[in-house]
């Protein structure tokens, strides 16, 4: 199968490309840019004029709910939503049921994704058995089974000694440790940012220190062990400062931020809006601005969706009794594009934070349009306006605070290994 994509603005930040040109695909791979290879006859031609052609997006954190919570989402339903969002690679955390702490579960997740055929799924393995925080997993076997890193998801590790050993063991096999920086005791079962809004609403708060304490102690262990650490979902300016300082000092660390933390703050919780119940919590305007700045200056490598689909009932309860999370795959691109409109990022910077930069964190070949690479491609119209309405969402979870927001920028084609998996 040969597909040519004609006259799009091709942006491939990994290779410094930003030019209107044609792109040629053959047998699932990119074979040429600019002019067709000798003897190339396309079976299909996509007119991409006035559109942007870029690598398919790489999402560092998406909960797919399978196995175990299929009432919230399945690998098939959620990867289909990903395709609509231009996402071709999803990294899923290990907190499924059963937990991804054995090769069998890791293989099952990838096999189901292959069968569904909408997107590539790369799992993170559990850092500790059953995510219980006490005994490390068979990390080598899990790596052989396709896991691209290890993480204890949102669960605490029992103590710093176990975290140290886990980091050392992961480093032995060159596995990145993904840390969700939240000190369990300081978080104290809170559900919102500890600050003025949380005080007024009388909701238990998670102080910024819950994040900075966890970041600081992890950084000390990175210095000790040399393990490579990626901090998922940074929510505060103060934690970001610590990470960016450590990067400057040469430590092997990186971090990402969710799209919603770049657009919402604690103020959006007023009226007890459970759709804004997320973890880590939405923090202050200052934090939001700090995170945006961190993205612009490169301290934050990637924007992720932190996709967490839920059934409707999960959000129908008094605020603190609701489940945290947003169904976010279908809004990742328009929310990131808003940052371009807000002059936070240039278009290539924005695309970099969704493509080769997250791919580098996962250590996988993705997020680039280099000749010879697999043709995972997103084509989007950056000027097209659309409204997010719950009936048109493809994700099984309709839980999002962005319902009825006017979105700018919509995916028109998503190609996975040279095959069109979404056309809008």
């Amino acid at each position: 199968m040969k597909i040519e994509i004609k006259q799009g603005r091709v942006i491939d930040p990994a290779n410094g490309i930003d030019a209107t040109q044609d792109l040629f695909i053959s047998n699932g791979h990119i074979v040429a840019l600019g002019s067709a290879p000798p003897g190339y006859v396309a079976d299909q031609s996509i007119d991409a004029s006035d559109q942007i052609v870029c690598p398919g997006f790489v999402d560092l954190r998406a909960h797919l709910r399978e196995p175990g919570e299929e009432h919230k989402g399945t690998i098939a339903s959620e990867t289909r939503a990903a395709a609509r969002g231009g996402i071709t690679t999803l990294c899923c955390p290990p907190n499924t049921h059963p937990i991804i702490d054995t090769p069998a579960v890791a293989e099952l997740v990838q096999r189901h994704a292959d069968l569904a055929g909408h997107a590539r799924v790369v799992p993170l393995a559990a850092l500790t058995q059953q995510l219980a925080g006490t005994a490390i997993t068979e990390m080598h076997a899990l790596k052989m089974a396709g896991c691209v890193g290890v993480s204890n998801a949102m669960r605490p590790v029992a103590n710093t000694l176990i975290l140290r050993r886990a980091m050392e063991y992961a480093a032995t096999y060159d596995l990145t440790v993904f840390i969700h920086a939240e000190d369990y005791e300081l978080a104290n079962n809170g559900c919102v940012h500890e600050g003025a809004v949380g005080s007024r609403l009388g909701l238990p708060g998670i102080p910024t220190a819950a994040e900075t304490v966890a970041v600081a102690s992890t950084l000390a262990l990175v210095e000790e062990t040399g393990a490579r650490v990626h901090f998922s979902l940074i929510s505060s300016q103060r934690a970001l400062q610590k990470i960016s300082r450590a990067k400057y000092d040469g430590l092997p660390v990186s971090c990402d931020v969710s799209a919603h933390h770049l657009h919402l703050t604690e103020v959006d919780l007023l009226g007890f809006n459970s759709q804004c119940h997320v973890r880590p919590p939405l923090r202050t305007q200052r934090d939001l601005e700090g995170l945006r700045k961190g993205l612009a200056d490169g301290a934050i490598a990637a924007i992720c969706s932190d996709h967490q689909p839920h059934e409707a009932d999960a959000k129908l309860a008094p605020f603190s009794a609701t489940e945290a999370g947003i169904s976010a795959l279908e809004t990742l691109l328009p929310l990131a594009l808003r940052l371009v409109d807000d002059n936070v990022l240039s278009m290539p910077q924005m695309i970099a934070s969704l493509t080769h930069q997250p791919a580098a964190i996962l250590g996988i070949k993705a997020g680039t349009l280099a000749i010879g690479h697999r043709a995972d491609i997103c084509i989007f119209d950056p000027e097209r306006y659309w409204m997010l309405d719950e009936h048109s969402m493809l994700s099984r979870g309709r839980n999002t605070p962005f319902l009825n927001w006017e979105m700018k920028g919509e995916v028109t084609h998503t190609l996975l290994r040279g095959k069109t998996v979404y056309e809008g």
Partner: protein, 329 residues
């Protein structure tokens, strides 16, 4: 803020739900106090009843234990001639796995008109008001650490009776403000009614995060904070806070923050002492003060009935235009 406003008031700006003081307005608070004043006569008559809510069914939906609040709501409803149903949910439905929304739907199906809700989660009354059928009014009888607006209004009623005006008063709230829904509602009500100097007095472990955002003056020393105060409101210290990481001991708390005659002498000579109850004698307040001439703690309780009658009748009033000329449908 706007959302709350819309939720609590109907299209004519009348009270529909009473969930929090925030988002209401001064005139509405004064209307509540005036209406309560008109009901105080009823509670003193031999036949303590008016027929305002005859034929209406009010459900006391208590997800958290309470004696005084539930009892005064029940008495208030009965004095308005409503039928009252007391439901203690801890012991019934949710224990069987029923969701809050299912419980609500079942009660709606029984044609109830008003829910008086107490719940351990902040925002529970908002949640119920958002999801209840349009003909139902919701009164918040305490949600988590968020609000307890009828308690605040009965305190305002008591202050107005004793002091007359609000705007010249200095009012101090002492104790566990962090975990107190009563204090939050009191602060909003006092500010809305024109009290310029609202003080909160507590050690840092019992203060909410960013207390200044409430528009109050913060003190850590009771003696300093009580100076020239007209009204002092003592908060109950929950047993679980008396030792552990928030406070070292009952003894040290009483030493530093317990209200005694000697400390009270620093306030204005005609100072009024209040407490939402139930009181811990010898922990936050000395018995001599609690039972002394400046204490109005028991008056607060009787005022509770009149204020709750006022709020219930006003919230039901907002439905009357629809209700006249027969039942719904």
């Amino acid at each position: 803020m706007k959302k709350k406003n819309r939720l609590q008031l109907d299209d004519n700006g009348k009270l529909k739900h009473f969930l929090t003081i925030e988002g209401l307005n001064r005139q509405l608070l004064i209307d509540i106090l005036d209406t309560a004043e008109s009901f105080t006569g009823v509670t003193e008559q031999t036949i303590k009843k008016v027929p305002l809510l005859r034929g209406k069914t009010i459900v006391n939906l208590f997800f958290e234990a309470s004696t005084r609040t539930r009892t005064t709501f029940e008495l208030a409803a009965k004095r308005l001639s409503a039928d009252v149903l007391n439901i203690n949910i801890q012991a019934s439905a949710t224990a069987k796995g029923e969701t809050l929304l299912d419980t609500l739907r079942n009660l709606e199906a029984m044609h109830c008109d008003m829910f008086v809700v107490r719940h351990a989660n902040s925002g529970a009354a908002h949640f119920i008001a958002q999801h209840a059928a349009p003909h139902i009014s919701v009164i918040n009888a305490g949600d988590g650490q968020h609000a307890h607006p009828t308690q605040a209004m009965l305190d305002m009623f008591t202050i107005r009776r004793v002091k007359g005006e609000f705007h010249k008063l200095n009012v101090a709230i002492v104790g566990d403000v962090r975990h107190s829904r009563v204090a939050r509602s009191q602060i909003h009500a006092l500010s809305m009614l024109g009290v310029e100097d609202v003080r909160i007095i507590a050690p840092k472990t019992l203060l909410p995060s960013e207390p200044e955002a409430f528009g109050v003056h913060v003190y850590h020393d009771l003696r300093e904070g009580l100076r020239d105060v007209d009204v002092v409101i003592m908060l109950r210290l929950q047993k679980e806070r008396m030792s552990g990481a928030s406070l070292p001991s009952e003894h040290e708390y009483f030493q530093r923050y317990g209200l005694t005659e000697e400390k009270l002498a620093l306030a204005k000579p005609d100072v009024t002492v209040m407490h939402p109850g139930p009181i811990n004698r010898g922990v936050e307040i000395d018995s001599v003060v609690a039972d002394g001439p400046r204490s109005v703690i028991l008056q607060q309780v009787s005022h509770g009935i009149a204020v709750r009658m006022a709020v219930m009748s006003m919230a039901m009033q907002s439905h009357l235009p629809e209700a006249t000329g027969g039942r719904r449908e």
